[in-house]
Symmetry: C2
Subunit: 163 residues, 2 copies
């Protein structure tokens, strides 16, 4: 019998195997906690929340904790340039809303989400749990995946912590 | 003589080899064009530049095109919340300045820069060319490296485009 040490040819190169491993990383391994504001909050409140929580993207939810919108730093900066009173302006005037929100789920591949962030030029996606499979309207926000999450995964790969 | 096909043992696994390749990626392969404003520009001008160029970080330069400061979306949002006139406020009042600016050079490793972005919790670094090796004060800005650059590198790895 040949000794069980060294290399056995599997039909794939080691590089292919690692690429496959990277390609199998999922959202749930790198997602962070979502930061949400209620749809009745003011733009002023949203800006304060963004600074206090130090995030770049806020998710807007309704009374049933379901996702109804997204606010980026850019949206808030644009609003704060205007002449209106930020305390009086509700976030649902300036937020991005369905069907223009891209979401992902905890089991999605990190590489697919990274591709979406690049292609759509957005900073982060909400990780959602669809309460009712047939409807887009009932989505509970369970996480947040951003370019920071992807950068953390990159550091892990470079430091050989994936394998 | 053994046939020159298949695998030869090099003392390293294929995974180690790919990790090494990823660890050798440099800033210059993924940097993008820097967007700068002059130190005499107003905060209002800076916000307009940020929207027009669609970037998250602006670099502030002096009359000799040398780096004197950095402006993030957060800095600009904070300023725009205040009561002062943005057209009258110069950017050098609110910018981050030396020695609190972290820079990198085109030959730095992408993995080191990714680690800095995570550790220091910043969105992007200026890529600089030190005109005078002995001084920190004369730095020409030649590029920009951000979490977007790192996310692009991640997508390339996942799609097996590095090897």
């Amino acid at each position: 019998a040949r000794p069980r040490v060294g290399y056995f040819y599997t039909g794939k190169t080691g590089a292919q195997l690692l690429t496959e491993k990277i390609g199998k990383l999922t959202v749930k391994e790198y997602q962070s906690i979502p930061v949400v504001v209620n749809e009745s909050a003011s733009v002023y409140d949203a800006i304060c929340t963004m600074f206090l929580e130090d995030v770049g993207t806020l998710f807007v939810v309704n009374g049933s904790s379901c996702l109804v919108g997204i606010l980026s730093r850019k949206d808030l900066l644009r609003a704060s340039m205007g002449k209106q009173e930020l305390e009086q302006m509700p976030v649902n005037i300036i937020m991005t809303r369905m069907p223009n929100i891209t979401t992902c789920s905890a089991d999605d591949l990190l590489s697919d989400v990274a591709q979406i962030l690049i292609t759509k030029q957005i900073d982060g996606l909400p990780v959602v749990n669809k309460k009712d499979g047939s409807s887009n309207s009932d989505m509970e926000v369970t996480g947040r995946i951003t370019k920071t999450s992807i950068t953390k995964a990159f550091v892990d790969i470079a430091n050989n912590r994936i394998v």
